[in-house]
């Protein structure tokens, strides 16, 4: 019975990882690809780790359960940060967005001479007018 439950977790996790991989190939630009990598990828890894948690819990191995839960926590914490860094670096170095993209609120908001990203705030208004 436990083999079956853990097996379902592992299989569905692997399926999501496969979908994430297909998405990396099929999606049109880097930014959309990050969606596939972070969401489907994270859930895939999470489900595989849940299988470890189920196995450890049934065999009474608390150490394994805690380590799997810690791994899960770290994946959930680091995946968004990695995606943020990659997307930011790509945008900063001028990677083009897909031609069917609708809006781009980030256009002209980076000011690398001062190492500043402009928001909607008052003090930086002048700078955004300068650039546009």
């Amino acid at each position: 019975m436990i083999d079956l439950i853990a097996g379902i977790f592992v299989l569905s996790g692997a399926t999501f990882c496969l979908i994430a991989a297909i998405g990396m190939v099929r999606f049109p630009d880097l930014y959309v690809r990050m969606h596939a990598a972070t969401k489907a990828g994270t859930l895939g890894v999470g489900l595989a780790l849940m299988a470890v948690v189920v196995f450890g819990a049934v065999s009474g191995d608390l150490g394994t359960v805690l380590r799997a839960l810690a791994a899960l926590l770290f994946v959930l914490l680091t995946a968004p940060i990695g995606a943020h860094l990659l997307a930011r670096a790509a945008y900063a170095t001028g990677v083009e967005m897909w031609h069917k993209s609708e809006v781009d609120d980030l256009r002209g908001k980076y000011d690398f001479s001062r190492d500043v990203l402009i928001g909607d705030g008052g003090a930086t208004d002048e700078a955004s007018e300068d650039r546009s």
């Binding site: 596939a36 859930l43 069917k100």
Partner: protein, 156 residues
């Protein structure tokens, strides 16, 4: 934070006095400690119990949204035509607290159709890449009333 430490102490004391020091007994001690702290919330002047509850609600909402987002992305990956119209949307932030912005940005990345890209230097705008950006205002509203409100309740 003090109340949380107290809760942990109660859990450990309970587990070591009542019976074998097992995870189950620690958990039982934690729940009892939580209940006692809830009874004494007025005397101790702590908002710990309600905030812990909000935190739990936030975690459950997050897991549900992560589950949902993976399915949405899977549908987009496997559908033969790319019907989505992506874009980058600037989301005005209500709070300038680093922890709250970090939590919000992380949650946004792992929820359906959105991925946080950068925060403006003055912490007023969070730039989000959205899978479907045909309705930027609706997107902003749904994040504002959903996650941002919940995070404020749990962490503010």
């Amino acid at each position: 934070m003090k109340a949380f430490a107290l809760n942990i102490v109660v859990a450990l004391v309970w587990a070591s006095t009542i019976g074998p020091f097992t995870p189950g007994n620690v958990l039982a001690g934690f729940l009892i400690g939580y209940f006692v702290l809830w009874l004494l919330r007025k005397q101790l002047k702590t908002r710990y119990t309600s905030r812990a509850f909000q935190m739990l609600k936030l975690i459950l909402l997050f897991l549900y949204e992560l589950w949902l987002s993976a399915f949405r992305v899977a549908i987009d990956v496997l559908s033969p035509r790319m019907t989505f119209r992506p874009g980058i949307v600037g989301l005005p932030l209500a709070s300038d607290d680093d922890v709250q912005i970090t939590v919000l940005a992380n949650l946004i990345t792992l929820t359906p159709g959105t991925l946080s890209m950068d925060v403006s230097t003055d912490k007023s705008v969070l730039y989000v890449h959205a899978m479907r950006a045909d309705d930027p205002e609706g997107l902003k509203q749904s994040i504002k009333s959903g996650f941002e409100a919940q995070i404020k309740e749990a962490l503010d």
